[in-house]
Amino acid sequence: MTKLPLDRWVERGVDWLSVHLRLLFDLLASIISGVVNAISSLLHLLPEWLIIVLLIALAYRLGRWKLALFTAIGLVLIWDLGYWDPTMDTSALVLTSSLISVVLGLPLGIACAGNRVVQNAITPLLDFMQTMPAFVYLIPAVTFFGLGVVPGVIASVIFSISPTIRLTNLGIRQVPDDLIEASEAFGSTPGQKLFQVQLPLALPNIMAGINQTIMLSLSMVVIASMIGAQGVGAEVYRSVTQLNTGKGFEAGLAVVILAILLDRLSQRLVGSDRRKRKGGLRQAAWIGGAVIVAIAAAGVYHNVREGAAGNEAGSIGETVGNRIIGIDPGAGLMKASAKALQDYELRNWSLLEGSGTAMTAALDKAYKAQQPIIVTGWTPHWMFVKYDLKYLDDPKGSFGASEEIHTIARLKLDKDQPSAYRFLDRFHWTPSDMEKVMIGISEGKNPDDAAAGWVKDNAATVDEWVKGIPPASGQKLKLALVAWDSEIASTHVVKNVLESRLGFKVDLLQVEIGPMWAGIAGGDADAMVAAWLPTTSIDFYNKYKGSFEDLGSNLEGTRLGFVVPSYMDVNSIEDLR
């Protein structure tokens, strides 16, 4: 049976969409970013204490003193911990996505309840949206909508809309038949039946759905931060990639407080107590409607203003929105980039945190459209093979000298697995070797096949590596790797050699950079060939020093820096000023 070329189809589909629906996507993006920006600028405009007081007052009016107390403590804590600004950014994002989810989800849930066909059609779609990993569509989302808050909102909506739809449907279906009959007997229109009978009686279920929607959209903020949505999510991501649990917890706590506040306030707004609910639903609908209109207006305004202010003179900064697309915040490259911005006094430039993948996606998009873009890059990377790129000169040496990639083994590996240890110690190749493997993978080859191909083509080199090492007999070996293209390439090559030449059974543990180091240090993984030094991984190296063995470099001549497509008319970082 030949494999269904599903991957090919999907990619073609995505390409097609990105070409043909660009207008639609741009429109969507500008609406969403308008809304988010409107909310966000509103939140940033008002002083902290005013927002806190307003929210406490609202909480007191809606709930009882308990809620007000929680609001007070929670918000002051956020303020005190220093997460006020990012929290407001996140609020804007989450408010927007929850709003969209509810505004779309309620009618869909109602439609499902009214019609079994609709329900049967929508349910699997919901399952799909909720379980298709966000990571999968984040990349196309970046292609369609660019980096930043917009794809974050969209991913949140996709992930979190489901409970609202499902529980609205369920709630309406559970309304007793005799009440529906009573309503119909008086000649209610479907709308009257809905608003006067079905929705009020389904309210507890609907509110449970909205609660889950809010919770889920907040649970997406970290993932959204990986494609450049700023806010507490980014703080969490940054802390965590720096193995800073305490700080991560603080930022996470800000998320939790925000979640509870949003949830409780929205629940109270509608009124969970039947006795007081009466006008609640309609009131909520009114308020909701008003808020939506206001925000939409603000968004359009924001958009128009930006559009007007925007494209004056053609400085490079302006053409790329003064943004440099970065990668994971924990990476040493980001630190170096930050240093570069400082060294060259690029004050109004911002470095967008995200992930390596998001960066390449953004690059791909810009490249195809021949638009200007500046990214943080490193060699070896397949992007240099695939696109025509250049490093910006770095006269001040902010990015330091070139880096090496080290092989790191756990303690005592030499005792436990001497053969593997010896091979790993000897493993050493060149950037061009690595790029050969990388480009193969980036063109869709299975990494195992790409590695096998390289090993076959470079039998001589490989023979050198394994000469005189007694083969093992099926022992297990765990290699950790981080999902950077370069590491996928090298680790698979190592794996291939270990298996095909030395008779090991290799498990690959693909993890984040922090866990990778923690894993080696804790002895959960045996080795890795992914330690970029002295810049990228230095913090981890220092942190775990003593708990691992450094087998020296396996590749030299890497480079870090700001990278632009060669069609761009800029050559040095100094030109960016």
């Binding site: 005799d178 007997a185 008086f186 000649g187 009466k278």
Partner: protein, 401 residues
């Protein structure tokens, strides 16, 4: 034109009603159909008409299809077959908009299980129909309050249904229907949870509505006395079909079959039967005859009283045997000795109104029509015989004392 006309209306519950419908057309019984196809015949080819301003009562065994039938009148249940014409228009073939119009403007329903909205206060429940129609808030609040007052629940406007007793809830359902002021009221055991006093009030209310507003009312009840009291016509159902339709008296007196007879046997006949049902032919004499003739007449027909009537049979008085023989002795005319204060009833008076007088009068009471003509007399034995339910009452005949 009748306001409601039902033609061959049928409802079969189950996934494949048409199959069962065919069986039904072949004359297979409800029970057999259930046993063979698991389909339940709810209503079985029912036809009748209801005139405007009529109170049409439906009675029948539990599970005989009364609720199903009434629910088909406003198409809450989709009929399997047949037609329902409301004011001449077939409701079964209406589109949603027309149907809504009919439900809003022409009919309102009181549900057997109340079906109050638990999330609304009493007054909001009562307002529901008006709100649906788009009546403005003030007007609808006023109407709802009136309606609540009518059912005796004033002061409880702001409670919720679960804070009321069963009977109170039922009355809220009633008020909700009444507030809508529809032409046709469909009432499914609407008084079943009410105590006798309030029930009687409500019955009077219905009768009032019928008389002053010419409302048409379809009323399901299990209470025979109630059916008799308010029903213009009664339909008796069994196994989905109508067994008999008629005025209450027709049904009591001429039950169509054993079933109907058993059904009505417990009724308090004194509230059904009228003087005309129990009166016997009186022996009369005209005032131009003499007492001797009178005495002879009494002797011949074995009675002890004669009724004195003029030529147009207008009652003038009564003659007792004693007085007649006395008159012969004293030579007085019949007019002289006639007893003038003979108790008099109209033929449509119910027996229970007769008891007191009949039990104590010395001369059997007379039954006199509108025009003053003597129609009959009431003998105690005949009253008792009628109450015993025996069917011999309508034969006229002398009392054999």
């Amino acid at each position: 034109m009748p306001i409601v006309e039902v033609k061959e209306l049928t409802k079969i519950f189950g996934p494949e009603p048409v199959k069962a419908l065919n069986l039904l057309a072949e004359g297979i019984s409800k029970k057999t159909i259930f046993e063979t196809t698991k389909h339940t015949v709810g209503v079985n080819r029912v036809s009748f008409t209801i005139e405007e301003g009529e109170i049409f009562v439906i009675m029948g065994l539990s599970g005989s299809g009364k609720s199903t039938l009434v629910r088909m009148l406003n198409r809450l249940i989709e009929p399997t077959g047949g037609k329902v014409l409301i004011g001449g228009k077939d409701i079964v073939s209406m589109n949603a908009q027309q149907l809504r119009e009919v439900r809003r403007e022409r009919m309102a329903m009181v549900f057997q299980k109340f079906a109050l909205f638990p999330h609304r206060t009493i007054i909001e429940n009562v307002e529901y129909g008006l709100r649906i129609k788009g009546v403005d808030p003030h007007a609808r609040r006023d109407k709802a309050l009136q309606s609540l007052e009518l059912v005796g629940l004033k002061g409880l406007e702001s409670r919720y249904p679960d804070q009321l007793s069963g009977g109170m809830q039922q009355r809220v359902g009633l008020a909700r229907a009444l507030a809508n002021a529809p032409d046709i009221l469909l009432m499914d055991e609407a008084f079943s949870a009410l105590d006798p006093l309030i029930r009687k009030d409500m019955q009077d209310e219905l009768l009032d509505l019928q008389q002053t507003m010419k409302k048409t009312i379809v009323f399901i009840t299990h209470d025979l006395d109630e059916a008799l009291r308010i029903g213009d016509r009664v339909a008796l159902m069994r196994d989905g079909a109508i067994v008999q339709i008629g005025t209450p008296e027709e049904i009591m007196i001429n039950p169509a079959n054993k079933f109907v007879q058993r059904f009505v046997e417990d009724v308090d006949l004194s509230k059904v039967l009228t003087a005309s049902h129990v009166m016997r032919r009186p022996e009369t004499i005209s005032p131009d005859r003499g007492p001797r003739v009178a005495l002879q007449l009494m002797h011949d027909s074995g009675v002890s009283n004669l009724y004195l009537v003029d030529r147009s049979r207008k009652l003038l008085g009564a003659i007792s045997a004693e007085d007649a023989s006395d008159a012969i002795k004293r030579g007085r005319s019949l007019m002289d000795i006639a007893i003038r204060d003979v108790p008099v009833f109209r033929p449509e008076q119910h027996l229970n109104e007769l008891f007191e007088v009949v039990s104590s009068t010395r001369i059997p009471a007379a039954v006199v029509g509108e025009n003053g003509k003597l129609q009959g007399i009431i003998l105690r034995g005949a009253v008792l015989a009628a109450l015993s339910g025996g069917n011999e009452h309508n034969e006229s005949g002398g009392e054999g004392k």
